[in-house]
Point group: C2
Chain length 359, copies 2
């Protein structure tokens, strides 16, 4: 900040999170398309384990055997307590530009984001809402009244009906680089029918970027059922994963008394794939928790067969534990047990997390 540096790690949880917690859960932030996940920012880490102090990492890169630091990241307290972390910081960007855009549909937006990521044209922030989240976002913070009619006519003239909202946040070293990269990106976006909405939409997103959890809490307090979950997969599998999960969530929550609303967005793009972040809302009621637990189980079971991970940045904890085995396989689970036995032979560190406690 004031010293001209930034970690660039901006999860919505930042007001209540700790650096050690980020590392123990492999956290990702809103700008991780440009700055990387916390995994990418950690140079070295020290843990207090039951068998002694363990330090891993140190130099920027090494070929000295397996990268053991990657066992500490995502260890969720099961191997020891993280006591020290060395982090990479970056200089604050000189040129910034946050802007909005709209793709003709979610799939066209996915194709455009894929092309940007694979051409090295990813911006610090890149978020693509599906049609349902686009409707919700624009109805909460978009234009209203006459402005809305002009907005709709503007889009219709460009062949976009409801479309998929895209937020692009550039943070570059110079205005010249920003212009060159942005021009190249827009040449790509236009090929996929994406229409510019200007800086106002970007500013609106920036203004509200950390308010999601507060809105959720307000809705929960009012008796609504509101929950989120997230996953990631390859670009090729992304459209199908989106459809499967959406269908699963709707089917699990729909009943004569409830009309659930399921919306999602891509929050992190990689060259080879992207994450999907889902929000589920319905009118709730006395049995909300029971209904959600059943829905969460149905959704979680649908992820791996459709090519998705059980979690892109929310970690395993207790909620995702039953699905870890399907993802990393019996050999992977055996490795976690072996590592746990080595570092925590009496099983006192966060028992039951990552490695099931023997019955």
């Amino acid at each position: 900040g004031a010293s001209g540096f930034t970690l660039g790690h901006l999860p919505q949880s930042w007001e209540r999170a700790s650096i050690g917690g980020y590392a123990a859960t492999r956290s990702a932030g809103q700008a991780s398309s440009g700055f990387g996940r916390i995994d990418d920012m950690i140079e070295s880490v020290t843990l207090a384990t039951p068998i002694g102090t363990w330090s891993a990492g140190r130099v920027p890169a090494s070929a000295a055997g397996p990268n053991l630091m990657q066992l500490a990241l995502g260890s969720e307290g099961a191997f020891g307590i993280i006591t020290e972390i060395t982090l990479r910081v970056r200089r604050l960007a000189i040129a910034r530009r946050y802007e909005g855009a709209i793709a003709p549909c979610f799939e066209a937006g996915i194709d455009a984001c894929r092309e940007l990521a694979q051409l090295g044209l990813t911006s610090a922030v890149i978020r693509l809402a599906d049609e349902a989240e686009t409707v919700a976002t624009l109805s909460m913070s978009g234009p209203v009244g006459v402005k809305r009619k002009i907005f709709d006519r503007y889009l219709a003239a460009r062949g976009v009906g409801q479309g998929a909202l895209l937020i692009i946040g550039w943070e570059e070293h110079s205005e010249a680089i920003l212009t060159a990269r942005r021009d190249a990106a827009w040449a790509v976006l236009k090929k996929f029918g994406v229409v510019a909405l200007g800086k106002g939409v970007g500013a609106t997103w920036e203004h509200g970027r950390f308010s999601g959890p507060y809105l959720r809490d307000t809705l929960l307090d009012s008796g609504y059922l509101v929950e989120t979950f997230e996953t990631a997969t390859s670009w090729a599998e992304l459209p199908n994963l989106h459809d499967v999960v959406r269908r699963e969530a709707l089917a699990a929550l729909e009943d004569p008394e409830h009309t659930p609303y399921v919306m999602s967005h891509i929050s992190h793009v990689y060259e080879t794939g992207a994450s999907l972040y889902f929000t589920v809302i319905d009118s709730g009621g006395a049995d909300s928790i029971k209904r959600w637990v059943a829905a969460k189980a149905a959704i979680s079971s649908a992820l791996h067969p459709a090519g998705g991970t059980i979690t892109h940045h929310h970690a395993i904890g207790r909620e995702h534990a039953p699905w870890l085995g399907a993802e990393i396989g019996p050999v992977g689970m055996g490795l976690l047990r072996a590592i746990k036995s080595e570092l925590d032979p009496t099983g006192i560190m966060n028992p039951g997390v990552l490695i099931p406690v023997a019955e």
Copy 2:
């Protein structure tokens, strides 16, 4: 290549190496400053282990516990045989420009490379030779005769004496991006007194980029002692590590009959540090192997105390095994033993590699 894609992995060993070998040794290539190490290119890997098939990785990113795939990379055959790898490829660059430059001295060049890396201005290839390697490179492939005199006068007029040779290889998505990034990079380079040498020097380097091992073999056949070794450390520790290692190598090989020549270059830059690749040459003789074994031991023992890794991209194997423990510590060695016991309980996979065989 012909299909418009490249892996971007170009180690000098490519004529004799395999993809599985790259993964098992955490290989880096000449363009890994821009394309990443092999570690960065692997999406998933499958190993045949003595306890069964083990697959790790798959989605572009996950927070489902520790990243177990990082145990397969760099496993050097000690845990199983790599049977399948999914790799990321990239589209071939549209705009390319390889150029040479010269820094007033190695330390100024280090400062310039550090600034480029930390401002996000790294090119696909970036190599900085120290003064000794600059002399050797220019005497082998630089200008001669009258041209040489003009060349020296050109540098002297710009305040550069011997200097440190810098090779910068741009590979970008568009000419506009290349120009913008290159302009920003040169604004930085000029601040550190770096002088442009033009595209000819870049082309000369490209022409000879894979010939190093052949030159080495020719020299070995002629009775010379020629060997290479490499390390990496943080930017802050790099100048001292360079001096310590150079001094150690010279002291270990110098005697009344031998005047060793020790030269090095930075071959891979990261935001937080860089690698150092050393070449040692002397006139050799009957006891060359004995002298080198002693020198290699002295050099290897000097690396860790000076902040260097025992290897940045040559792996551990049998030669570096005695120094692995100093780098990863007793807890790290215990983890390797525990993982080995889990995957290879009877110790049949590449015995003695990574984990010492009990006496």
